[in-house]
């Protein structure tokens, strides 16, 4: 899968343990419990047969739908807008500050959270209320992919998980094969404009860029490095990449009118890519974002031969 994948030693072990207990689960009753260690290192006791799930992040909601277990999903957040059917599920509020009361009222036997959106304080509070919370910690594309079988095993649908993961990996390999010999354009992923923020080396968004055949100009150790405009001018990236948001067109118009920004090669040559906001969600659609970006960066690689 290329040089971007870091060895996921710890997580692979956890996933394997969960997988083993999932086999035991087939003969279990609803009251049976098992111990697992989540991706943040917390010990969690979850029912062997999970029936009522509250998802605290859009990416996790998307994964649940992709695994076909949405009938067991009883609560989502205000931000869970994909697939559209998710918007009809009862909401527990915002990702950053969900209502504890609402979560309790939905009687979940498992809450799913992620370090990519939820606060530590929320996790502590849910723990205190005696509701098991399994936390995901997506730091790389490989983490995002491995979370799928982990979640599938937790929900005792290991086949669905293995199938979805394999399908996504096949799509990634197809992209990788197409762009293998292509030169890598240097890109700047703009996470935020005022102040200018990009994404660092150890984020799954960075891996999206690399997997799509690009090279990020912001190779920094911080998650969301703040960049100086001077540095950006000096690096003069070939492409500017933004995630879609309602204000993105207005922001781009402002950049094109700006005396400094307008001098960047990417803007002069109109090489600005607006990606679906799925690029910021560590769920299965991350592969859509990679394919979308690869097609724009390397159109000739995808022409029919």
């Amino acid at each position: 899968m290329g040089q971007t994948m870091r060895p996921p030693a710890g997580k692979a072990r956890v996933a394997a343990t969960v997988g083993f207990s999932a086999v035991l689960a087939l003969s279990a009753t609803a009251q049976d419990l098992r111990r697992v260690v989540d991706e943040t290192g917390r010990r969690v006791v979850v029912p062997v047969r999970v029936e009522r799930i509250v998802s605290l992040a859009p990416s996790l909601t998307e994964t649940l739908y992709a695994l076909g277990v949405e009938s067991r999903l009883v609560g989502v957040t205000d931000w869970c807008n994909y697939p559209p059917a998710a918007k009809a599920k009862p909401s527990v509020g915002q990702v950053i500050n969900p209502s504890l009361e609402k979560i309790v009222a939905l009687k979940p036997d498992l809450v799913l959270g992620t370090t990519a959106g939820n606060r530590r304080a929320t996790v502590t509070a849910i723990e205190r209320l005696g509701i098991p919370l399994y936390g995901f910690n997506p730091r790389s594309l490989e983490d995002v992919l491995l979370a799928i079988p982990t979640l599938a095993d937790l929900l005792t649908v290991p086949e669905a998980g293995a199938e979805l993961e394999a399908k996504l990996r096949r799509r990634l390999e197809a992209v990788a094969a197409r762009i293998a010999a292509r030169p890598r354009p240097r890109v700047l992923f703009v996470l935020w404009l005022e102040p200018l923020m990009s994404i660092g080396r150890y984020t799954f968004v960075h891996d999206v860029l690399v997997q799509a055949g690009a090279e990020s100009v912001a190779e920094r150790p911080e998650d969301w490095p703040r960049l100086s405009l001077e540095a950006v001018l000096q690096q003069n990236p070939d492409y500017l990449i933004l995630a879609h948001s309602p204000a993105v067109e207005r922001r781009l118009a402002a950049l094109r009118a700006d005396p400094v920004w307008s001098q960047l090669r990417a803007l002069r040559e109109d090489r600005v890519i607006v990606l679906d906001d799925a690029v910021l969600r560590p769920g299965p659609r991350i592969v859509d974002a990679i394919e979308q970006l690869a097609h724009v960066l390397h159109p000739e690689a995808f022409e029919p031969q």
Partner: protein
């Protein structure tokens, strides 16, 4: 109203009135939320009936709402009294519990605990309290002159310390990960949403100590506000009175900020509101401010968790949005200048 004509009966009457309002409000706050629970059932459950609530309602009521309501009341009372005490100590109607940097010290402690959470086992409230206490000591050291707390020296020392600490906070926030950054931002706005029954006993005991501490010197504060030489002639130990007020008010602020972050406007506004309604005698002002602070913050927090339920607003945003217009209204009525004494 001059101190001499204030009777105990009047203090008692005002306190009973405010306590009544507080209890009614608490009952309403217990019954509303993302999940509605009828007041009748709550009253019966509180009276000892065991079968009126489902297990789920019981969890919501006793593990989520009750601790949160108690926390809102304690923090509101602490902030109100701290504000009234600082306004007297600094002779400044604009003084609030945060003007001397106690909240910035607490915020620095909290953010350090978030930044080093992986390496140091210390909970955020404890770290915040340590930061606040250190700030209280530093500001006292910088703000006293020949053993006396001089209002302007103290105020300047506090303001400078606060801005220095804020600069450190901004510096540190650059190094927080995305998740902790969100946590820190919420903390800075003031937030009661994750209240827990753990430690509530300690908190209420210490808040009570701080409030009683200010109340014990309330009579001396009245005299002090009439002028220091006159107060000294009447036998007030000025140095001791000021130190007691400084320590008690700072303790109240440190406690409040450590458990809830920096909730704005309550400490500034509530003392003015109480002066407008009941006069400015500190013997009445202190208990009335404590109760009114509890009422105001509980009302604000109940709004914060219900107006866009199941989503929540940070309570600091509610107190600021409601607080600023109310403050302007009070100012226009002349309370901000004349009424505070």
């Amino acid at each position: 109203m001059s101190p001499s004509v204030l009777s105990r009966t009047r203090i008692l009457k005002v306190c009973v009135l405010l306590l009544g309002i507080l209890l009614v409000l608490a009952l309403v706050a217990l019954s509303v939320g993302a999940v509605g629970i009828p007041v009748g059932r709550i009253v019966r459950a509180l009276a000892g009936a065991t079968t009126v609530l489902s297990a789920q309602d019981e969890l919501i009521l006793f593990e989520i709402r009750l601790p949160r309501i108690a926390l809102a009341m304690l923090v509101g009372a602490a902030l109100g009294v701290a504000g009234a005490a600082y306004q007297a100590l600094l002779r400044n109607p604009l003084a609030d519990p945060y003007v001397l940097g106690v909240s910035s010290g607490a915020a620095l402690g909290a953010i350090l605990s978030l930044a080093f959470a992986a390496r140091v086992e210390i909970t955020t409230p404890v770290a915040a309290f340590v930061g606040a206490s250190a700030t209280i000591a530093v500001v006292y050291f910088l703000g006293h002159r020949s053993g006396q707390l001089a209002p302007y020296t103290l105020l300047l020392a506090g303001v400078i310390t606060a801005s220095f600490l804020s600069a450190l906070i901004i510096f540190l926030m650059n190094f927080l990960s995305g998740r902790d950054l969100r946590g820190a931002a919420y903390w800075l706005m003031g937030d009661l949403s994750n209240a827990s029954p753990v430690g509530l006993g300690w908190l209420s005991g210490l808040v009570l100590v701080a409030i009683v501490g200010v109340y014990l010197v309330a009579g001396d504060l009245n005299l002090l506000l009439g002028g220091e030489p006159e107060a000294a002639q009447l036998g007030v130990n000025i140095r001791r009175t000021k130190l007691a007020v400084y320590l008690a008010a700072s303790l109240a602020t440190a406690l409040a900020v450590s458990v809830s972050g920096a909730i704005g406007y309550v400490g500034l506004l509530v003392p003015h509101l109480v002066r407008l309604l009941f006069g400015s005698d500190y013997r009445l002002l202190i208990p009335a401010t404590a109760l009114m602070g509890a009422v105001v913050l509980l009302a604000a927090d109940t709004l914060a968790r219900t107006v866009i339920a199941p989503s929540e607003l940070p309570v600091g945003a509610v107190t600021a949005v409601v607080g600023a217009p109310v403050f302007i209204y009070l100012l226009r009525r002349g309370v901000g200048s004349g009424g505070w004494r």
